[in-house]
Symmetry: C2
């Protein structure tokens, strides 16, 4: 029997990724799941290709979930994605139907320099680690 | 009386920004609100500076909220930020205490080219508009 509670599905989603439990991971996905990355305009359609994408993802990587917001059949999560000694932010938005994940929108924000003109309002912290830990 | 329902606070948050109703906007914020942008490592501390930051934000801009995920005293939202004819994605994570927003984490993801090696799994769409509209 599949779990039907969104929070439980999301917890299993992240746990199965951490454990490289790709069979358990696949069970949480709709056969027609769509995975989208708006920044690169990439889309992966279907359970098998999406599992393969995760299984094949290169590098020595692990995730650390820092936030999970659950609202009915929708969720949003943030994580630290640690790959080859680097840590980057990962943000996911999720839609579920009947306890299975049907759509994932993944965001990978990168650092940039702030535009001038707001130095009178904003302080700048020396590194990203405080944000990464607290997000 | 202040609203205490998170979804209502968030709806008012976005509505007051759209309407440039900075007094109504300020009412939703804790006096000690912290606004953080992890990508630039910027932090704005306090209600007045944060209202000023929004009020002074340069350009001809407007927002269109595309998603709101509410979970107890936390929320996540996505929007299209339209400025000077361009549309970019904006993502916010929110924390509330006693019906006031105490912390905002704002993310502004930018387009990038995908790394090689996943062309066998991912299709690429010609432009971002489909993602922006559906996120």
């Amino acid at each position: 029997l599949l779990p039907v509670d969104t929070r439980e599905v999301m917890q299993r989603y992240y746990d199965s990724i951490k454990a490289r439990d790709w069979d358990g991971f696949a069970e949480l996905l709709s056969p027609d799941v769509v995975y989208e990355m708006p920044q690169t305009r990439e889309r992966i359609s279907g359970r098998e290709p999406y599992v393969q994408f995760n299984r094949e993802y290169p590098g020595e990587w692990q995730i650390d979930v820092t936030r999970l917001v659950v609202d009915g059949d929708r969720a949003a999560g943030t994580m630290n994605f640690m790959v080859d000694g680097e840590t980057v932010l990962g943000i996911g938005f999720f839609e579920l139907t009947d306890g299975q994940i049907t759509r994932i929108t993944d965001i990978w924000p990168e650092p940039y320099e702030p535009p001038p003109g707001r130095e009178h309002l904003a302080e700048r912290l020396p590194d990203l680690s405080e944000f990464i830990d607290r997000l």
